[in-house]
Symmetry: C2
Subunit: 308 residues, 2 copies
């Protein structure tokens, strides 16, 4: 049995639902609101699907064509594409972008989004998640209004603490190192909080790259100024037992990612329906400002995780 066959056999045991079609088909089919939604994910690898001297524009074209061909086999109308891209040299990236532009224009299919990662020479994994939202508007990073309050759903910094413990940091007086390790290794997306919040928020996003950088992105998308008070950054007792409760430890917790808490804006008059902590306030203007117990303080040089 080839490595691929062995892996597919393992996946088949996991993908047991009807929409997966036993992984025997080129695409999955979900029934949704009277429509049949067709979903496919195809990959291409250098040295296997194309030779190193191939034109990156042609590689982009073929990646689009191979995916759309799976839709063609279902008689489906294309609705859109998501791209998973490993960054390489700038010249290759530009050629790829040119070919992608040609292909999405030629096949009249919109590029909807995706992700890109640096390539450190190891394994690269991608995943697409599909969901359904039943109210409008669907929350976005943009949409916060001047006067809105910024909240976060839970402790920040636990993933950082778990990372440090996994990499040999002393557990010291920490009462529940296992919980911190799990916060890093097995994070929990805030799905039910998100559903409860969605009808109320003016803006929402998850904290994946770090509170400060993600909050700055929300403020920029909403075209507002945002002031966060460091003293309000919620730290767990376990985090405090390792790093103390001071300005530096709060900045560290606020600029580390992987906590997957929800960051959201609510009008001043609205109370959040889930456990959440007030971090600051949106005002007219631009940019992220920090205070520490009400006193203005400088932004750290690094607000969070950025690729590339």
């Amino acid at each position: 049995m080839s490595r691929e066959s062995a892996f597919i056999a393992m996946m088949r045991a996991i993908a047991s639902g009807p929409a997966a079609r036993g992984l025997l088909d080129d695409a999955a089919v979900i029934e949704l609101g009277g429509e049949a939604l067709i979903l496919t994910h195809d990959m291409m690898a250098e040295g296997i699907h194309w030779l190193p001297h191939a034109s990156p524009a042609d590689v982009a074209w073929k990646l689009v064509a191979a995916n759309l061909s799976d839709l063609a086999a279902k008689g489906a109308e294309p609705l859109g594409l998501l791209l998973g891209y490993s960054l390489s040299d700038a010249q290759w990236d530009m050629g790829f972008a040119a070919g992608l532009h040609d292909a999405v224009g030629h096949f009249d299919v919109p590029l909807l989004g995706g992700d890109s990662v640096g390539d450190a020479g190891g394994r690269i994994l991608g995943m697409t998640a599909i969901g359904r939202a039943s109210y409008r508007p669907v929350p976005a990073r943009s949409g916060a209004q001047a006067g809105d309050i910024l909240y976060v759903t839970g402790w920040l910094g636990d993933a950082k603490a778990g990372f440090d413990l996994e990499n040999g940091a002393d557990e010291g007086g920490c009462s529940d190192a296992g919980r911190l390790r799990r916060a890093f290794k097995r994070p929990a997306p805030r799905l039910s909080d998100g559903r409860a919040l969605a009808p109320l928020v003016t803006a929402m996003m998850d904290v994946s790259d770090g509170l400060l950088i993600d909050a700055q992105r929300m403020a920029a998308a909403s075209n507002l100024q945002l002031t966060i008070d460091l003293a309000h950054v919620p730290l767990s007792p376990d985090y405090v037992s390792l790093y103390g409760d001071n300005t530096d430890s709060r900045i560290e917790a606020a600029s580390w990612g992987d906590d997957y808490q929800l960051l959201f804006a609510l009008p001043n008059s609205v109370e959040p329906p889930v456990a959440a902590v007030k971090l600051g306030q949106f005002d007219s203007g631009q940019g992220l400002k920090l205070t520490d117990n009400g006193t203005a303080t400088a932004l750290p040089a690094r607000l969070g995780f950025e690729h590339g």
Copy 2:
């Protein structure tokens, strides 16, 4: 500007539709049949998002959690996941599968499909395509009936010829080498043919790995025997000018992938509404059989492209 920022700026110029939200959000939103469909694709790279000594089960969990967290930020209910996986060593693959099994069970989200590729040490790209089909049942590989006729939409082997020309093969008496090169480098998915065929076919798939291997998959999924006559394999005049019109050249064309033609089954009484060629017939029984001008002939050792 980081490489990632530069790449995202190029993608933003391509992703100009409203559902892409200017690539400023964590997820795309498509309105479909009264539902808001939420789509996100997140990647993780070894050495960047996880350290080489990390548990593969934890990596799988985090890949799921990070993607679902983007849905949480939209207040969305998860409908499913597609996985893009680079095969590595069997031990790591097994650990990853175990973690994936845990995560999809814990978050109650179905794995719907995806793709896996070998890692030859170069770039790895992934793409998700989303489509909509407006009739039922949506065509599958399974569904062909005994007595059905197998068809293919166009010439086979042109991508192979284009590949050979790109890699220095002599153009010889070929009258349109450019067309063959384009067939390999810029293939065209048969989207409109697929839509015309979908209401009529009993089974359909695209020829991406090679006619013989893909036809064998259709026969297996339909639990039938399939007989293909090599003499019916449609070859272009350009292909014939390079490789001749003989049993070997037909087997070569029938076991090379990348042509992206549609392979489909129709009841004997139904004429295809698009240009297509009869290749053979389904009967009760099992397996793929070959004939050459009506005389039984052996299957080649290699039916098409297989990974791993």
